[in-house]
């Protein structure tokens, strides 16, 4: 986990790149909106964990907020993960099959 000063530096660097114009392409508004939306989505999603247990949800919320702020800008990673590369989709697919096999073995 990072201290406040380094996360401040990260945020400043991120903003500087936006302002100086060599951060992203010509659709900066889309990127900034997407970034903010994604962070808030993740935080709300973490809050939804109270469906399983309430204390776990609070821990999740704090953890996810800290991690999301640490890893900003996350949108680049999101975009990369959402590429339509066959191998990337197959990766999710393999994880899914692993879950099904795990259920099988766990249930006996």
């Amino acid at each position: 986990m990072t201290s406040i000063s380094t996360s401040y530096e990260k945020l400043k660097k991120f903003l500087d790149e936006f302002i100086s114009g060599n951060g992203y392409t010509n659709i900066m508004t889309g990127y900034i909106t997407g970034e903010l939306q994604f962070l808030i989505f993740i935080i709300v999603l973490a809050a939804l964990f109270r469906m399983f247990s309430f204390p776990l949800a609070i821990i999740m919320l704090i953890l996810v907020t800290a991690l999301a702020l640490y890893f900003t800008p996350t949108i680049i990673g999101v975009e990369k993960e959402n590429s339509n590369d066959l191998n990337r989709v197959l990766y999710w697919f393999l994880i899914y099959f692993a879950i099904i096999i795990a259920i099988t073995l766990w249930g006996g």
Binding site: S83, N84, D85, L86, F93, F97
Partner: protein, 124 residues
Amino acid sequence: MIEVTIQLLGFIAAALLLIIGIAGMVFLDNIIKKIIAFTLLSDGVNILLVAIGYIEGGVVPILLPGMSTVEFTTHAALVFPVGIVLTNIVIGVSTTAILVALAIMLYRRYGTLKASVVLKGERR
């Protein structure tokens, strides 16, 4: 110790074929190889379905002359999986044909059959 029956062997063959097929589809790079792996996967599903319908000591589900209805209904293997599998074989053939046709089209454009080159994600 589990008693070995032909049904259990069917399940084992199905599991092996499913694992080999999935592994081939995911890890092999050549598109034609991926298609062959798909036919193996489809075979695995077929044999799983037929093995579920198998009855130990049963008979082929065809009403032969001289067989009473009660004997037939208690001993015949399930017919419904056979219907599914027959459809699955036909669908498998058509899927394979479509996949091969698309592979030919993409080969003409890109000059290679490597999935990691042809089917790479693009930044839009």
